[in-house]
């Protein structure tokens, strides 16, 4: 699903943010990107959703070489890549429902489809009663759940999360990670950049460790996921087709 070939990203006047990074993330895999601040985690994610162009190297996302995409094709690629940020990036002038609807409006979905999908997504994260609320009145955990709903609105093939729990306490962090795991359980490839080692330990998945822009460790050991407290198959099913159909019925 995601392949990087000798990717280097340099910014003028500073050391490379990424240096000769090569990696392969197969379809449906869950990957943690770890490393201290400035290790290159955010830059790596940015190059995948084309917010940054690599200085050297090639990146394939879903078989498409991002270097060869024009602006319109990048827009189309991004419809298949959901992104979640540490600071949520919700639009304060729009309601919670409108924030989620935004991603669907962009792809030209019809009003009825949008309403159903937004309700379903918010219901799946327990926020359906906040649909008309101002996002600023929500707690950090709730805002991040809205942001995850928005990222999942278009059934993305890839979900990228940049420090999604950075502003949350440990309990809320686990909730958000569960949502990401649920998305992964439905087949979405997920990459989570984090420096929270506790979470990485708790949700044991492939870990790519970056340091000063280089991959210094890639632990591909199979996932051992303890399902009870943070299981991917909980009742809520954000983004799932079956659940949505049931909700519509």
């Amino acid at each position: 699903m995601i392949r990087l070939f000798n990717v280097t990203k340099e910014y003028p006047g500073s050391r490379p943010a990424l240096l000769d990074v090569s990696l392969h993330v197969p379809k449906g895999q869950f990957v943690f990107l770890t490393g201290s601040s400035g290790a290159g985690k955010t830059t790596l994610l940015k190059t995948i959703f084309c917010a940054e162009r690599p200085t050297k190297g090639q990146i394939l996302v879903g078989g498409r070489n991002t270097a060869r995409l024009d602006r319109n094709r990048i827009a189309l690629l991004r419809r298949e890549v959901g992104v979640v940020f540490q600071d949520f990036k919700l639009i304060s002038s729009r309601t919670v429902g409108e924030n989620v609807a935004f991603a669907l409006e962009v792809v030209g979905a019809g009003r009825r489809t949008i309403n159903k999908r937004v309700y379903f997504l918010l219901k799946s994260v327990g926020l359906e009663d906040k649909i008309s609320a101002d996002p600023r009145t929500l707690s950090g955990g709730e805002q991040q759940r809205v942001a995850v709903c928005r990222a999942l609105a278009n059934h993305p093939k890839v979900l990228l999360a940049d420090e999604p729990t950075g502003n949350l306490d440990s309990e809320r962090s686990v909730e958000i990670m569960e949502l990401l795991h649920e998305a992964n359980a439905r087949g979405t490839t997920v990459m989570v950049a984090t420096h929270d080692t506790e979470l990485v330990e708790r949700f044991r998945r492939r870990v790519i460790h970056l340091d000063r822009g280089r991959v210094i460790e890639d632990d591909e050991s199979p996932a051992i996921f303890s399902g009870e407290e943070a299981g991917p198959h909980s009742d809520g099913d954000p983004g799932g087709e079956e659940g949505e159909e049931a909700a519509e019925a």
Binding site: A75, R79, K89, I91, R150, N154
Partner: protein, 298 residues
């Protein structure tokens, strides 16, 4: 269609969010278009008035009292040839000239009673043909007539025709310059309003693009916003112009009638008024395009 409704909805929502600045932009556009339309209307009316009078300009060639019938025939023939095919050449005998004067004086015709002899010369009047072609043609015709034997003077109101034409040329140039500057200011105002809207919604645009919005999807509402500002401004300008013309027309007509001692009819500058709204919409669109294009390149 539903896409257009969506974009218009977003444009209106954006305008509502920054109501004050949008009202300022609409009023600036309205004032600019109002001034330009009044200016263009006035210059256009003067031009058409001059054209109308041009149709009616008479070159009067005054004849020597001793001119014979043969001289008159020769003069008529030469002048008719010089004035062109569709010209009309008429000989006005002295008695006829006096009779005309008496008729034009109306109730004051009594002042002519004291004359012991007819002081008016006979003349040849030329209408149409080259007389419609402006001051230069009129002057050439008059100069040619002056060279003919039996002619004492040739007159066509040279002074005021030249002055009026000069005035209109000056007015048109000033109008183009001032109007152009005012319109430029209006476009810049719309452009800046849209730029402010773009900055105010920077985060929204960023998220839009992250969600996979194409450039045209991002641009469309802002362009529509500019178009709406231009259209609203032009509508205000149109209504104000209509009101102004309705109020002023009778006065202008009266003033011109008094000034030129002839019945003058001035119509509304329909062409200018019809172009106002589409013109305003285009200007608004252009202003928005300036900012949107620049913003998205960053």
């Amino acid at each position: 269609m539903s896409r257009l409704v969506y974009f218009v909805g977003r444009a209106l929502r954006g305008m509502r969010q920054a109501l004050f600045i949008n009202v300022v932009a609409v009023l600036t556009m309205a004032i600019a278009l109002f001034v330009v339309s009044v200016f263009a209307g006035a210059v256009g009316q003067m031009q058409s008035l001059l054209d109308a009078w041009g149709q009616d300009i008479v070159v009067a060639i005054y004849l020597d009292d001793d001119a014979s019938a043969e001289d008159v025939h020769r003069i008529k023939k030469a002048v008719a040839f010089a004035a062109g095919e569709d010209s009309r050449v008429e000989h006005i005998a002295r008695d006829e000239a006096l009779e005309r004067l008496r008729n034009s004086l109306g109730e004051d015709a009594g002042i002519l009673e004291g004359l012991d002899r007819n002081p008016l010369p006979a003349s040849v009047e030329v209408r149409g043909g080259v007389t419609k072609e402006g001051p230069e043609a009129l002057q050439n015709l008059a100069e040619l007539a002056m060279e003919l034997p039996g002619v004492t003077e040739a007159d066509y109101g040279r002074e005021w025709v030249s002055r009026l034409e000069g005035l209109i040329t000056l007015g048109s140039m000033a109008g183009f310059l001032v109007g152009g500057l005012i319109l430029l200011a209006a476009v810049v105002t719309v452009s800046n309003t849209i730029r402010l809207a773009l900055f105010a919604r920077k985060d929204e645009i960023e998220i839009m693009k992250l969600c996979g919005a194409t450039d045209s999807f991002v641009r469309a509402p802002f362009l529509i916003e500019g178009g709406i500002q231009g259209t609203l401004g032009a509508t205000v300008a149109l209504l104000s112009s209509l009101l102004l013309w309705l109020l002023l027309l009778p006065r202008i007509e009266q003033g011109l009638t008094d000034a030129f001692a002839m019945q003058v009819e001035v119509g509304m500058p329909a062409g200018v008024l019809v172009l106002l709204v589409p013109g305003g919409a285009l200007l608004g669109l252009a202003g928005a395009a300036l900012s949107v294009g620049r913003f998205l390149r960053v």
